[in-house]
Structures are given as C-alpha cells and as structure tokens.
C-alpha cells in the first residue's frame, strides 16, 4: 500500500501542478476557535527554537533507518541504502541539504506582526512577504498566480498556511498559540518531491509590546506613513 507521506507528496504535487483545492484534501477549516487570537507583535526566542543542524541530522537518521528497514525486508538495495551521494536520484544528499537550507531560508523572520479578525489573519514577517488568510462565506480564499498557490485554514486550534510552488516544493507553516497566549510556535514543514520525508523546523516566538503601541499609523501618498497616538 502507498505510504501516507507518498500520498501527501502526490496530492501536493497535483495541487501544485493544477491548482486543485487542497484545503478539502487536508481537512482545513475556515471557522476558527473563538478563543484563539494571534494578534500582536512576536519576537523569536532563539533558545526555544529548533536547531537546524540537529533537525537535519534527525532527517538523515530517519531516511537511513527507513532505507535499512526496507533493505532488511529485501525491498531495497542493501544496508546503507537510502542516502545517495550523487545528485540525480531521490533522497540524494544535495536534495536533503537543499531542503534544510530552504527551511532555514523561509523561517528567518525574527519579528512577526499579526493582525487577526473574524474575516482575515495577516502575518507580516520581517524580511519576508506577509502571509494572509481571508475567509469569505465560511471558506478560505486561496491566493494563486502562475508562480505559486497559497491556501490557509484552521486545523482545530492551529492555523495552517500551505504554499505550493513549482519544482515540487511545498511549504507549510503551522501556528499554535501557547498557554495564556504569551508564546507562539510556528512549525514550518518543507516538502520536496525529491526527498521522501518532510523537513520540519519549529520556531518559537514570544509576545512583546512594541514601542509604537498606542499609535495608529496610516499611509498616505503625500505624507507617507502618518502615525497618531491612540488612547485605549
């Protein structure tokens, strides 16, 4: 029987190629848990976030273990199989390292600014593009152009963003609010159709009060960004 991770890769690839509504396939919902509010400013807590090297070692171990199991069962090439030094086959070392590098690249934001309302969630990320989730008539609205497709939704208490890109690349950000709403975990999973297992890295963020709190800013052409103090 086809393993779940392969099914996921197949679905992701099909979504990526044809722009299918993957939300249904992944069971994401448009309605949120009313008690969850991601709003606010968040800064990365390096001490609690995953170490990319460690995660990479873990992934390599996993792939090797699976390969060895398969070899023992007589399904594969033999002991030590699974990791390939060359670069033309699946699970090659360059592909696995590439996946880790991608995960590092897409999780570099040290500060997040989240606006959360009933109809939308916008995550402004330092040195990266904003992630947006808009809901309409009980369904999330996908963002799509020839360069990629973005869809989001709720998986119980977690907010999930899936980004399907060409080259068989899928990036998922899964946001979970910690106890008392003071901590935010962003689990980023990067999938490639050239690596049999996904690579996940957790980045932990702590809520902080930015210096500009109590200030409402608005953009205008002639005056640029205009900020006024607001008393709550």
């Amino acid at each position: 029987m086809l393993k779940p991770q392969y099914i996921y890769v197949v679905i992701a690839t099909l979504c990526s190629l044809y722009g299918a509504p993957c939300v249904a396939a992944e069971g994401l919902q448009a309605t949120r848990n009313k008690n969850i509010d991601f709003s606010g400013a968040w800064e990365k807590d390096f001490s609690k976030s995953d170490d990319i090297q460690q995660q990479l070692r873990g992934l390599v171990r996993d792939i090797r273990r699976v390969a060895e199991r398969r070899a023992k069962a007589g399904m594969d090439r033999g002991p030590g199989a699974g990791l390939v030094v060359g670069d033309n086959t699946k699970d090659s070392v360059p592909s696995i390292i590439g996946l880790a590098k991608m995960a590092d690249l897409v999780t570099q934001s040290q500060v997040l600014e989240i606006e959360h309302s009933r109809a939308a969630v916008t995550i402004k990320r330092e040195s990266a593009f904003a992630l947006g989730c808009t809901f309409h008539d009980g369904e999330s609205v996908a963002v799509e152009n020839p360069l990629g497709r973005e869809i989001c939704g709720w998986d119980e208490h977690q907010l999930v963003f899936n980004l399907y890109l060409p080259e068989g690349l899928t990036i998922q950000h899964r946001l979970t609010l910690g106890p008392a709403g003071r901590r935010l975990n962003v689990a980023t999973t990067v999938l490639s159709d050239q690596v049999s297992r996904p690579f996940t890295i957790n980045r932990v963020y702590n809520r902080f009060e930015p210096g500009s709190q109590g200030i409402r800013c608005e953009h205008t052409i002639t005056r640029g960004k205009v900020c006024t103090t607001v008393s709550y």
């Binding site: 068989g168 953009h219 002639t222």
Partner: protein, 377 residues
C-alpha cells in the same frame, strides 16, 4: 498494481475536482465576457481639433466604479485586488481627462466625485478588467438632456512595445483606450446640430439653477419619467437671479478645480509605481510560457529538487508577493488621501475636510446657503 490503481484514482479525482472548479464561476458573466472580447480598440490616433469649437461643452468625468465583485472568492479568479482597483477607479478618469483636454474639442474637463447636474456632459465608467495585459472599461456618456452619447465597453491590450514607450515617454500603455473614447465622444458631438449643442449647455445651467431654487426655475424644464429633460422656455436675457446662479456655478467649479489640481500631483507620484505594477501583472500573465522554456533549460535553474531550483521558485513567488504588497500599500495611501481643501469665497476662507465626496457635498451646501441668503429665498 494496487499503487497504480491508487495513483490513477488520486490523479483522476484531482482532475475531476479541478474540472468542476473550473466550471463553477466561469459562466458567471459570459455575455459580458463576449462583449469585452469584441470591443478591442486597436491602435488609435487622437483626433485633435485645430480650433476649439465656438461653444465648447463642459465635461465632467465622474470617478469610476471600481467594479469590485461583492463575492470575495471571485477576486482571485478575476485578478481583482480591491485596494489597487479602488485607486485605479480614481486614477483612470484623470487619464481620460487628459485625452479629452489634448483633443481640444471640449471646454473645461473636470474629474468630479459624483454626477454633477451643472455639467453639460457627464462621463461615467466602470472598470470591467484591469491587469497588465488588458484594460476594459464600460463607458456611458450622457448630456444634460439625458441623451446617451455613448454606452459601450472599450477594451485595450498592451504589448511590450507599449510598456517600452511608457518608460521613455511617460505615456500610458493603454493610451489607445482613452484616445478611442475621446474620438468617439467627438464623433457623437459632430452628429448634433449647433442648436442641439447650445440646448445642452442651457439645460445644464438651468438644471443647476433648479437645484438651487426649484420654485424659480422648475418651470423652465420638463422631465420625463425616463429622465429625459427638455427645455420648455428660456429665462429673460439678463435675468439677475440667473446671473447670480452663474457666479455660484463658477464657484462650484472652483472647488472641483482645486481638488483636481491636488489629485493631479498625486497621480504623477503614483504613475511610476502603477506602471511597474501593471508591467508586473503582464509578466505574471506571460510567466507560464517563460517557465516552460526555463524548465527545458535545466542547466540554468538547477536540477529539480536542488536548493538552487527550490530557491529560485521561492524567490519568484516572494517577488510576486512583495510587488503586490508594495502596490497595495501605495494604493492604500492613495485611497486614504483625504487632504483638506481650502477654498476662498467672497473674502471668506472655507476649510473642507473629510472624504472627497463629503467635501463636495459640504461645498454644495455652502453655495446653496449663500444663494438663499443673497436671494432672500
């Protein structure tokens, strides 16, 4: 064997879901789509009058309807970015205004926040489509008597040459559409007699007068239930009340001219970024073909699954998102622009604040009060 069946089932299911999705929503406006397709303006040269007509008509171009579908889920399908579309609805009328002014066929051409009965000719429009490849506008032109001069969809396509020429000369890549509308308006004007054109101006003046003083001016005009207005008779030459109204009408336009001047400078600031945005829209639309070519050239983009190839895919998407965010911010700034307008009237300075529509209504209110005070009505 089982794998193959499962894979085939998965693939088929995905394709079935896809074909279903492509059907839903794709039939919403087929009639409109056909009309849009059949109205390509092509390459158009502006017809410029050597001399302005002896009694040029005053033209008002009302801020356009952005044509944003209420159904948010349609935005993606139709490529509508609400912030940007709202800004376009304010920007495009100024480009049309420029073509009309350049044609030398008209009197003052003003962009007005709402339909203004003191203008002889009103141009109203809805944006049907606006992306980097094409612009489609649903245009209606009516004169003060209710006569419809134009009512049709115009569509223009921009090719690379249009963008290159835009970068060099600052001309809009969809300039043909504005020139075509201006030419069609001039053609429609040419079909009317001098008397008919004079009537249009007279009706506009009396419409404004009627608005200020219905009891004094209502009987000069008759209006059908369909909104067609006819001139019943003219006021006496030198009617002092009409002269007073004429002065107020000029002051009404003073406000519009002040606002126009302010917005003209904003459009100049926005035009470069807007050009880039449309160029980006065009590139996105053409990207699919380009990508096919790039995929054949694996040397350049790196092996599938390599960091180089993945990084390239991610960078391209990030670029598209950043472009959109930048333009969204600019459009938001443009839409937020509600600078107060300061207008001087009979030695008094009026400071009007709020949205453009509100300022306009306040100004009309001030003029109506002034007229009531002066005329003792």
């Amino acid at each position: 064997m089982h794998y193959r069946i499962l894979l085939a089932t998965l693939g088929l299911s995905a394709l079935l879901v896809l074909s279903a999705c492509n059907t839903v929503g794709g039939r919403v406006s087929d009639a409109l789509e056909d009309e849009v397709k059949s109205n390509l303006v092509g390459e158009v040269k502006l017809v410029v009058a050597h001399r302005q007509p002896p009694q040029p008509l005053e033209v008002g171009v009302v801020l356009f309807d952005p044509g944003i579908p209420r159904d948010v889920s349609k935005h993606q399908e139709l490529g509508v970015y609400p912030q940007i579309r709202t800004a376009e609805a304010r920007y495009i009328p100024y480009l049309l205004r420029k073509a009309l002014v350049d044609s030398n066929q008209w009197g003052p051409v003003r962009v007005v926040p709402q339909a203004d009965s003191s203008l002889a000719l009103l141009v109203q429009g809805t944006i049907v489509r606006a992306d980097g490849l094409q612009l489609a506008l649903d245009i209606t032109v009516r004169d003060s008597s209710g006569r419809v001069w134009l009512d049709r969809i115009y569509r223009d396509e921009a090719v690379e040459r249009d963008y290159l020429s835009s970068q060099n000369s600052g001309a809009d890549p969809f300039g043909d559409i504005y020139r075509k509308i201006a030419n069609d308006m001039a053609l429609a004007m040419g079909r009317l007699s001098k008397t008919q054109l004079r009537r249009v101006t007279q009706i506009a003046e009396l419409m404004y007068a009627r608005q200020l003083s219905p009891q004094s001016f209502a009987h000069y005009l008759s209006e059908s239930p369909e909104g067609d207005v006819e001139l019943v008779r003219l006021p006496a030459v030198g009617d002092p009340m009409l002269a007073r109204i004429g002065k107020l009408r000029d002051k009404q336009h003073l406000f519009t001219d002040t606002v126009d001047q302010h917005y003209m400078s904003l459009y100049e600031e926005m035009s470069n970024a807007y050009l880039l945005w449309r160029q980006y829209g065009r590139e996105i639309a053409l990207y699919k073909d380009e990508r096919e070519r790039r995929l054949q050239d694996r040397q350049r983009s790196g092996r599938r699954g390599s960091f180089t190839a993945m990084q390239e895919a991610y960078a391209a998407y990030r670029w598209s998102k950043v472009q959109q965010e930048d333009m969204d911010e600019l459009a938001q700034g443009f839409n937020n622009e509600v600078a107060p307008t300061v207008v001087e009237l009979d030695g008094r300075v009026f400071h009007l604040t709020g949205s453009l529509q509100k300022q306009y209504q306040k100004w009309q209110g001030i003029l109506e009060e002034l007229f009531a005070l002066e005329s003792g009505l």
